[in-house]
C-alpha cells in the first residue's frame, strides 16, 4: 500500500525532475530563440516577435564557416580512420596472441587512459613541431590515433569471440589477417559503432590542442573558429553569435537527436569497464 505521504513525495520528485530538465534545456532553447529573432528581442520573450534568418546570414558572412566545417570533417575522419586501423591491430595482438612482455605492454597502454595527450601539451607541441606538422590537420589528429581507450574496448570485444569460430576459419585455411577481417571485425561491429560515436563527438568538440596547433583558417576546426568568432573583439552581437554557435553544433546535435539511443548506449558502453 502506498500511503499519502509517499504519493506527495512522488509529486515533488516529478516536479523537481521537470524543473531540472527545463534548466538543462534552457541554454540551448535560449540560443535557438536568440538566433531566430532580431537582436531587439534577445531578452524580450514575446510570441509575436518576428522570425528571421538574418543572424545566420551574417554569421555565415562574418566567419568562414564552410572552411571550418570542412576542416572539422577532415579532422574527425582521419582521426577515426587512424584509430580504427591502429587500435584494431593492437587489440587483435592483445586478444589473440601470446608473447613475452604482453602484460607490461598492456600496462603501458593503460597509462594513457589516465594521462591523455590533452594534458601533455607542452612536450607534444615540441614533438609535433619537430615533425613539421604545426598548423596541419594531421598534427591535430596524430596524438590521438593510438588510443588506449579504443584498444581497450576492442580487446574486450575480441575476447568475446568464440574460439570455435576462429578454429573453424583456421581449418579452412584462413591466415591470421583474414581471420581478423572475416571473424573478429564483423562480430565487433557494435563496439566499433560505440567507439566511433564517442570518438567523433570528442574530436568534433575538442578545443585546447587544436587551438595550440593551428594558426590559419585553412586548418582551424569549428571549435577554434567559434572561439575567434565569439570573442568580444569580433564585435558581433549575441544573436549572430547564437546563430553561428547553432550552425557549428547542428550536425552533431541533429545526429544525436535522431540516433539518441545509439549515442546514449555508446557512452554507456564506453564507461563499463
Amino acid at each position: 500500500m502506498i500511503n499519502r505521504g509517499s504519493d506527495w513525495m512522488q509529486k515533488v520528485e516529478v516536479l523537481a525532475a521537470w524543473l531540472l530538465a527545463f534548466l538543462w534545456a534552457a541554454p540551448l532553447l535560449y540560443a535557438v530563440w536568440a538566433a531566430f529573432h532580431p537582436m531587439d528581442f534577445v531578452s524580450r520573450f514575446v510570441l509575436t516577435a518576428p522570425l528571421t534568418l538574418d543572424n545566420f546570414r551574417s554569421a555565415w558572412k562574418v566567419a568562414p564557416f564552410a572552411r571550418y566545417f570542412f576542416n572539422t570533417f577532415v579532422l574527425v575522419s582521419i582521426t577515426l580512420a587512424g584509430q580504427f586501423i591502429l587500435c584494431t591491430m593492437a587489440a587483435y595482438a592483445f586478444a589473440r596472441f601470446e608473447f613475452p612482455g604482453k602484460e607490461i605492454v598492456f600496462l603501458l597502454v593503460l597509462v594513457q587512459i589516465m594521462i591523455m595527450p590533452d594534458v601533455l601539451i607542452v612536450q607534444n607541441y615540441k614533438t609535433v613541431s619537430q615533425l613539421g606538422l604545426v598548423d596541419t590537420i594531421l598534427g591535430i589528429g596524430l596524438p590521438y590515433m593510438a588510443s588506449a581507450f579504443g584498444i581497450f574496448l576492442l580487446r574486450q570485444a575480441f575476447k568475446q569471440v568464440p574460439k570455435e569460430l576462429v578454429e573453424a576459419a583456421r581449418v579452412e585455411g584462413a591466415g591470421w589477417l583474414s581471420v581478423l577481417w572475416k571473424v573478429y571485425i564483423p562480430l565487433a561491429k557494435p563496439t566499433y559503432l560505440a567507439y566511433g560515436l564517442v570518438s567523433v563527438s570528442y574530436h568534433w568538440n575538442n578545443f585546447l590542442w587544436p587551438v595550440i596547433i593551428t594558426n590559419s583558417t585553412e586548418t582551424r576546426p569549428l571549435t577554434v573558429g567559434l572561439s575567434i568568432f565569439g570573442a568580444p573583439e569580433s564585435g558581433v552581437n549575441f544573436s549572430v553569435i547564437s546563430a553561428g554557435t547553432l550552425l557549428a553544433v547542428s550536425p552533431l546535435l541533429i545526429a544525436f537527436l535522431l540516433f539518441q539511443r545509439q549515442f546514449v548506449q555508446s557512452f554507456m558502453r564506453s564507461g563499463i569497464k
Binding site: 512522488q10 604482453k102 595527450p117 607542452v122 612536450q123 596524430l142 577554434v224 553544433v249
Partner: protein, 294 residues
C-alpha cells in the same frame, strides 16, 4: 619444428602492435618522461642555451603566488563541481529510470549538454553572465537588484565556471548511473515496497550501495575532467580577473604558449600529472579489491 611456429607468431603479434605502440610512446610516454626531465633544465632562449639547473624551477614554482592561486582554484573547482554534479546525476538517473511522465524528453534534456562543445556552450553562457544586457542581470533588473559584473568580480568568476561545468557534466555522469540502475532487478524494489520499506529507505539501503562501483568510476572521471577541461576559460574569463578563475592546465597553457617558458610549464605539468596519478591509483586499488571479491 615445434619452436619455430610460436616465434613467428610472436613476431606477428609485435608487428601488429608496432604502429600503435610507436605513436603512443611518442605522444604519451615520451612527453611524460621528457617533461619530467625538462623540469630540471632552464628554458632555452635565443643566444642562451637550455642548461641543467636542478630544482630551481621547483623552487620558483613554490615561490610563485599564481601557482598556488590556480592550484587552490582548481581544488575549489573540483570540490564544488564533483559532488554537486554527481548528486544531480544520481537524481537524474533515478528519475529517468522510474515511471516519470515524459521520461524520454527529460532524458534528452539532461544528456544534450554532453554532446555540445564546451566552446559553443560557453559562448551562450557568456551572454547570461554579461552585466546589464545579460539574462541574469535582466532577471535581477525585474526585482530592481543592481547589475553585477559576474565574470569581472574576483568573488564570483570561479563560481560562474563551476555552474557551467556542473550543467555540462551532470547529464554525462547520469548515463553511467542509469546503466547501473538498469542492472538492478525491478523485483527487488517491488519486494522491498511490499515489505513496507519507504522509497527513501529503499534508495539509501539498496540502490545507493549497488551504485557504489559506478560511483567510484564516475568520481575518478570527474576528477580527471576537472583538471583536464579548461576550454570554457578561454571564452568566459581568460583566467581573470587577477587569476581568480584560472585553473592549473590553463595556467600551463599560458606559461607555455603565452610567455613561452616551456621549462616552467613542464614543471607545472609534473604537478598536474601527480594529481592525475593519484586519481589513477585510487581506481586501480579499488579494481584490485573488486577482482579479489569476485
Amino acid at each position: 619444428m615445434k619452436l619455430k611456429r610460436p616465434i613467428s607468431v610472436q613476431v606477428y603479434a609485435w608487428l601488429l602492435l608496432l604502429p600503435a605502440l610507436v605513436l603512443m610512446v611518442a605522444f604519451t610516454h615520451y612527453p611524460i618522461v621528457g617533461g619530467f626531465i625538462a623540469s630540471f633544465f632552464s628554458t632555452g632562449r635565443e643566444g642562451r642555451a637550455s642548461k641543467f639547473i636542478g630544482l630551481e624551477n621547483y623552487s620558483s614554482m613554490i615561490a610563485d603566488p599564481v601557482f598556488w592561486q590556480v592550484l587552490q582554484n582548481n581544488l575549489i573547482y573540483a570540490l564544488g563541481v564533483i559532488p554537486i554534479s554527481v548528486i544531480l546525476a544520481i537524481f537524474m538517473a533515478v528519475c529517468v529510470n522510474g515511471r516519470l511522465p515524459g521520461r524520454s524528453i527529460v532524458r534528452t534534456a539532461y544528456f544534450t549538454p554532453t554532446i555540445l562543445p564546451m566552446i559553443a556552450v560557453a559562448n551562450i553562457w557568456l551572454f547570461f553572465y554579461t552585466p546589464q544586457i545579460g539574462l541574469l542581470d535582466q532577471i535581477r533588473g525585474l526585482f530592481n537588484i543592481p547589475s553585477h559584473s559576474w565574470l569581472g568580480d574576483t568573488s564570483t568568476a570561479l563560481g560562474c565556471m563551476m555552474v557551467l561545468a556542473i550543467w555540462k557534466d551532470a547529464g554525462f555522469f547520469m548515463i553511467f548511473f542509469l546503466a547501473a540502475l538498469q542492472g538492478i532487478p525491478p523485483e527487488l524494489e517491488e519486494a522491498a515496497l511490499i515489505e513496507g520499506a519507504g522509497r527513501w529507505y529503499y534508495f539509501r539501503r539498496v540502490t545507493l550501495p549497488l551504485l557504489m562501483p559506478t560511483m567510484l568510476f564516475v568520481l575518478v572521471n570527474a576528477t580527471i575532467n576537472s583538471f583536464k577541461l579548461v576550454d570554457h576559460i578561454f571564452i568566459l574569463t581568460k583566467g581573470g580577473p587577477d587569476n581568480a578563475s584560472s585553473l592549473l592546465l590553463y595556467y600551463i597553457w599560458e606559461v607555455a604558449f603565452g610567455f613561452w617558458d616551456t621549462a616552467y610549464a613542464s614543471t607545472l605539468t609534473v604537478v598536474l600529472l601527480v594529481i592525475l596519478c593519484l586519481a589513477a591509483i585510487t581506481q586501480f586499488r579499488y579494481m584490485e579489491k573488486r577482482v579479489h571479491y569476485q
